[in-house]
Amino acid sequence: MATITVPRPKLNWRERLYLPAIVAGLAITWKHFKNMLLGRTKVTMQYPEQKWDSHLPEHYRGAPALVRDEDGRVRCVACQLCEFICPPRAIKIIPGEIPSTDRFAKVEKYPEAFDIDMIRCIFCGMCEEVCPEQAIFLRKDYAITGFTRAEMVHHKEKLLEIGGVMHGVVLKWNEKK
């Protein structure tokens, strides 16, 4: 095995005295201390008061949410593709049938219940990708908290509340078409 001799740097007397280096180090830490004390350094974000909200990028993946369309219809048609694709199996959908008298009877199905267990959700965004109706989106909400497990399950109402209304994109269920 080859032996590599690492050359030790020869220190002059000033370096061997250590004191100049110690003073230089103290000067550096003092500079940081002083700048922080005078409020010149601004690194820390005071989280609950200041938030990332305005800095979040477009592609940020937060909490998944259901959206309504322009007519106020829940876009989801309960095809359950997101339920199948969901890697941690966080989504549970109970489909219901739309009565034939309804304006949107040709859509046939709607989600009677749509639960996303936010303890399980990994914010991967596969539900958004797989959705043929563009009914589920990952919004920018990131601080999902609760005191109980039951509280952490987002029901349909909660999901719609986060989602809001989405305009355009899919217009195929317009009754005139």
Binding site: I28, T29, W30, F33, M36, L37, V43, T44
Partner: protein, 354 residues
């Protein structure tokens, strides 16, 4: 012994104890804030205005935590060790004059004629808290921490003692009050700008005093187990060292001991080198009780500045390696302190004449 003396002494003891303990809790807070500021963080700033009630929250947390005693420890010594760590640090402050006089009462708990020897004798006992704690824990890391502590103490106690000898050359006795008295008349040892400052020999004498001060302060760093000499603790190598097996209030007592030792060490440094409670232009307590209070305030301000320096150094320097520490102690500071004594002895005849 008259009852007046007993009552005033008791009052002083209670006052100093309360003051030192509250200073300890706020030193912990200050440490966290200073370290945070040095590292561009904010530190605890949520509890109360600017986080000033953090020590109270800390206290409740430590009191309410489970006081766990591991099964294989030597219970008696395991319980004794934290007390041994706190006791010397608090007792030492008894001989340090923290003010001039207040209503004619000298502001020192015990003005003994062996002042500095008492400080050294009692302060050295603090190592027992660590060694006994490390041994009684019956665990590898605390044991190594305890061993390191005792070896460190051996290498630094010598230079600690030798560094102050030049001061007592000048003062003539070991009373800490006379050290302060001498500095009022002749100027602080570290910077003799009071008194006969035009005398060049005085300034020549200040040079070995600075060496003395540096050696003494570095030895105090080692004595109080502060970085860069916190080898007994050494979180990274020894998983916390001697206090690994401790929890709750027993751990807090170790913490308290460390910070109390820091305060006492600062108080001793201030008394020996920075003129104690004296500040140029402020008369002593015999001119009115308000000046007595100001003198006490001046003393504790100086102590606070020293504590800040302790923290500043801690968050600047990395820890010394084990062999480097021993080498520094035995081959470097011991010799410097020894040579320094001769230096002062050589200058002294000239300085005294003028």
């Amino acid at each position: 012994m008259d009852s007046f003396f007993v009552i005033t002494s008791l009052l002083k003891i209670v006052g100093i104890l309360v003051l030192v303990l509250s200073m300890v809790s706020y030193a912990v807070y200050a440490e966290r804030r200073v370290s945070a500021f040095i590292q561009d963080r904010l530190g605890p700033n949520r509890v109360g205005p600017a986080g000033l009630f953090q020590p109270i929250a800390d206290m409740f947390k430590l009191l309410l935590k489970e006081d766990f005693t591991p099964r294989n420890v030597n219970t008696f010594y395991y319980w004794l060790a934290p007390c041994l760590a706190v006791m010397p640090a608090i007792i030492t402050i008894a001989v340090v004059p923290f003010g001039s006089t207040l209503f004619g009462i000298p502001m020192v708990i015990a003005d003994v004629n062996v002042g500095i020897l008492f400080v050294f004798a009692i302060a050295s006992l603090s190592v027992y808290g660590i060694v006994v704690g490390g041994w009684a824990s019956n665990s590898k890391y605390p044991f190594l921490g305890g061993i390191r502590s005792s070896a460190q103490m051996l290498s630094y106690e010598l230079s600690l003692g030798l560094a102050v000898i030049p001061i007592f050359f000048l003062v003539g006795n070991l009373r800490l009050t006379s050290v302060v008295r001498y500095q009022i008349e002749h100027g602080w040892f570290i910077a003799p700008f009071v008194g006969h400052w035009t005398n060049p020999w005085k300034w020549l004498l200040a040079f070995p005093m600075v060496i003395s001060f540096l050696v003494f302060m570095i030895a105090i760093f080692a004595e109080t187990n502060r970085l860069p000499f916190d080898l007994p603790e050494a979180e990274q190598e020894l998983a916390g060292g001697y206090n690994t097996e401790y929890s709750s209030m027993k751990f807090a007592l170790y913490f308290l001991g460390e910070y109390a030792a820091m305060i006492t060490g600062s108080a001793v440094i201030v008394t020996l080198f920075f003129g104690g409670w004296h500040f140029p232009g402020i008369p002593d307590g015999s001119h009115g009780w308000i000046f007595g209070l100001i003198n006490i305030a001046v003393f504790f301000t100086k102590v606070a500045i020293m504590i800040f320096i302790f923290m500043w150094v801690r968050w600047t320097l990395p820890r010394f390696r084990w062999d480097q520490l021993m080498r520094l102690g035995w081959l470097f500071f011991f010799e410097i302190a020894l040579v320094n004594i001769f230096l002062v002895a050589a200058i002294l005849p000239y300085a005294a004449r003028l």
